[in-house]
């Protein structure tokens, strides 16, 4: 049997002196010629056909198994994904509820503040009216300052109100 894609001389020269290399090359060649001289029997035709038949069966069997494994894997992935999705939805609900509750509480707090501010503005307004009605001579400086202060307070309160 003809060998091989290699440079045997080069290989032998790496390990042996030229004389030794030559001797070893001869020994190997003569040894391998024994195999050429005594050919091994060939496998029987029916054995080869049987092997090919078995390969076909094995291929089909492996193919079916492959498809089965793939299907099971995909089903498992879908199941796990669905489970995780459901789990997430379940854990997210309370979070949404919490946000909604906080939002409502904040709104209620804002409503209360608005009501209080409105009351304060009304109170200040009636106070201004009372002061204005009571200023007969209009010369009272202290009274005038108080009116100015009250007006400033009203403006501040209104500003505060609109800022929220």
């Amino acid at each position: 049997m003809e060998n091989k894609k290699e440079d045997i001389d080069n290989l032998l020269s790496r390990f042996y002196s030229p004389d030794q290399a030559e001797q070893i090359k001869n020994d190997i060649t003569q040894g391998e010629q024994l195999f050429d001289g005594y050919r091994a029997p060939q496998p029987q035709e029916n054995i080869i056909n049987h092997i090919k038949l078995n390969i076909g069966r094995k291929r089909r069997h492996t193919g079916i198994l492959h498809v089965l494994v793939k299907t099971i894997a995909v089903a498992a992935v879908v199941l796990v994904a669905s489970y995780l999705l459901m789990e997430n939805t379940a854990t997210q609900k309370p979070a949404v509820n919490n946000v909604q509750n906080s939002y409502r509480a904040a709104l209620a707090r804002t409503d209360n503040s608005i009501t209080a501010l409105e009351k304060e503005a009304q109170l200040l307004g009636s106070e201004v009216m009372a002061v204005r009605l009571g200023e007969d001579n209009g010369t009272n400086e202290q009274l005038s300052d108080s009116v100015g202060n009250v007006e400033t307070e009203i403006i501040d309160t209104e500003n505060f109100f609109w800022k929220g």
Binding site: M1, K4, F15, D27, E32, Y38
Partner: protein, 181 residues
């Protein structure tokens, strides 16, 4: 010798599931692998069995093989199968010898293996199994010494030396057999 490029193409097709490609690989390698097993076992039936097992393993595991290194890969599987075969044969022989001892038969034990074993195979059987395997693999696999060394995880110098000593010893055994020793 097969065109390595063609073998690579066939192996690639087999990897993608082509049944025809598998059949072609059987046609290309059956003869050499049968020779390999026959020389090592000296028995046709065992060689047939090992050959069938080998090709089924090839189908099963071809996904793990690179097409460029198919041949060393295939012969590595063959070598592993032969090692398993030797182990089970030893177990079988141990069991048989125990039975023989128990029966204490005076008749000659029946001949084992193939009666038609040729002279070369008979002399190969007299070598150390490891030596026999390495020279047979070298011959039937058509692998270079470098490839053989890689396959066996041994330095190339060691493989070269083992093949040389093995073949020299075999030639000596053949000559002795010719001289009626």
């Amino acid at each position: 010798m097969n065109d390595p490029q063609k073998v690579i193409e066939i192996v690639s097709l087999a990897r993608s599931g082509s049944e025809k490609a598998f059949s072609e690989l059987v046609d290309i390698y059956a003869s050499r692998l049968f020779g390999y097993f026959y020389r090592l076992t000296g028995n046709r039936d065992d060689s047939n069995e090992l050959l069938s097992e080998l090709f089924l393993k090839m189908v099963e595991k071809i996904g793990s093989c690179r097409p460029e290194t198919f041949e060393p890969w295939l012969f590595r599987i063959a070598s592993n199968l032969f090692t398993d075969y030797l182990r089970s044969k030893k177990r079988r022989e141990k069991m048989l010898s125990r039975i023989e001892e128990q029966v204490q038969s005076e008749t000659e034990p029946p001949p084992r293996g193939d009666l038609m074993t040729d002279k070369l195979t008979r002399q190969i059987q007299r070598l150390e199994p490891e030596t026999a395997e390495i020279i047979i693999m070298r011959y039937y696999s058509q692998l270079s010494f470098e490839e053989l060394a890689k396959l066996r995880n041994e330095p190339v110098g060691t493989v070269l030396s083992k093949v040389h000593r093995g073949l020299k010893k075999l030639r000596q055994l053949m000559e002795e057999s010719d001289n009626g020793k």
